[in-house]
Symmetry: C2
Subunit: 266 residues, 2 copies
DNA sequence: CGACACCTTGAAGAGGTTCAAGAAATGTGG
DNA sequence: CCACATTTCTTGAACCTCTTCAAGGTGTCG
């Protein structure tokens, strides 16, 4: 499962460490809201190199709104008109698709710097729900303007293509997980992917407070919530992790990796 | 599971019926090889409306090579350099990803008019194998030129975005299938999707000669080949389909639909 | 503090896998 | 064109993983 993609943004104050939104609620600073992409200090993590001043200005023009989704509310829902892509500034989302008979499937969990909304381009209607698992702030990038600017800024055009391709590759890995792996392997892969993405954002790679329920993890991994719970307990029993409700500590990430690789441990 | 996407091409001779490549080997006519996108009679199925003569000419310039993959051979493999997208002119492909321990997962089956190679954009390396399940002819569209022309032809730019988005949405549906459905539901969904795509191409929506093995179907659906075989037998026993090796006849497509919808039949 | 959502654990059972054997189709070389 | 090898498919039986159903525990928030 590859890492998600960054776009622009995540305007942390230069020189500081990102606020630990995964161990406590983010303390939103109003100054952040005014930060332009052009002076975002981790832009290099998001927007690939090589924009001149003029191009940068154009990119700045993209961000029109900064919607806010409270915990539990939807950023958009299946059937909503598609108008924009959303880059997560802070917070945590899940995306879900529903079958006609009402069954839900979590298709992904998204954190700061990652994009949601790509599903809407195909038909101009969203086909999944994006639900905030904690209070979440995003940048809205009107897609018509992305396409407009992309005709002039080649790096932006290519970047959009890369983002979509990475999402396709990510989903290939989820398919591999759902099609081939046992419960323990799925959960190990899930944890490793989550920890890697958190680590890239400056968080601990050994401790996490999960933002999602066992049921949501189960939905993502194609398991029941009971199986997720039991598998957490089993990993804890084997001294691979420590679990206390939503707090998970990784004791032996190499063991997790061995589990993912089907190397039946010990 | 939504239908795949068409791009340009599939240059059948105007006024003729597509050759029944799914009931017999395609009889390749050399005239086809010279057909330009601009006078392809089913272009409207592939390239959305509204290109003027000049734009159409540009699009024609895209297709540089027409590679051919014999049954069993690879169009590209994971690790290969990514240079082009491929539109299938005739034939049938599977795409597969591999985990480190060698397990394979079929991520999709592609037929005429559909695109492969989108996975390579992210890193300039392909991340999956594209294997021909029958002799397959494709149009190679160098991606650098797609991006170049897309800056001038807005409709092309938007089309590329739509194609990628549709692939993302398709994969969402596969995740729903793998995460939520029983064997019988998976196979029913698979058959309905396959028949719909064949029907869109002028083939019967009730008869098909499968190009893939039970093992490949199983890999795609997250099942073993034995389960696929047993499930075919069960559907046949219930008079929903008739199966004779690779020949499948749909007797009651509404029953298939009911199975997909969890409406426990009878 | 009480209600509610979430999590854990047990026991029974279903669905799918694994292992095994044989049948049918396909391909190959003489 | 036939005989043989190989691949693919089918079916059975035993087993195992995960699900389902159930009950009780823990945490959280108004």
């Amino acid at each position: 499962m590859s890492a998600h993609v960054n776009f622009f943004v995540i305007p942390f104050v230069p020189g500081t460490v990102p606020p630990p939104s995964h161990t406590s609620k983010p303390d939103l600073d109003k100054r952040f809201l005014k930060t332009a992409c052009s002076n975002c200090n981790i832009r290099k993590m998001c927007m690939p190199i090589g924009l001149d001043a003029d191009e940068l200005k154009r990119v700045d023009e993209l961000v029109t709104k900064r919607p806010f989704a409270k915990r539990g509310s939807a950023l958009f829902r299946a059937g909503d008109a598609f108008t924009a892509l959303y880059v997560i500034r802070s917070g945590f989302l899940k995306t879900t698709v529903s079958s006609e008979d009402g069954h839900d499937q979590v298709t992904g969990f998204q954190m700061a710097g990652e994009i949601v909304g790509l599903d809407g381009i195909a038909t101009d209607l969203h086909t999944c729900d994006a639900i905030a698992l904690e209070d979440t702030e995003v940048c809205a990038l009107p897609f018509a303007r992305i396409e407009e600017i992309a005709t002039q800024v080649k790096a932006l055009q290519h970047h959009v293509h890369k983002i979509m391709s990475r999402e396709i590759v990510r989903e290939h890995h989820v398919m591999l997980l759902l099609g081939n792996m046992r419960a323990e392997e799925r959960l190990a892969a899930f944890l490793l992917n989550l920890m890697q993405r958190l680590h890239e954002r400056g968080f601990s790679s050994s401790d996490v407070v999960l933002r999602m329920t066992r049921e949501e993890i189960g939905s993502y991994l194609g398991l029941t919530l009971e199986t997720v719970s039991r598998t957490f307990s089993k990993l804890a029993e084997d001294n691979v992790i420590t679990v206390n409700q939503r707090h998970v500590h990784i004791q032996d990430s190499e063991a997790l990796q061995r589990i993912v690789n089907h190397e039946l441990c010990r």
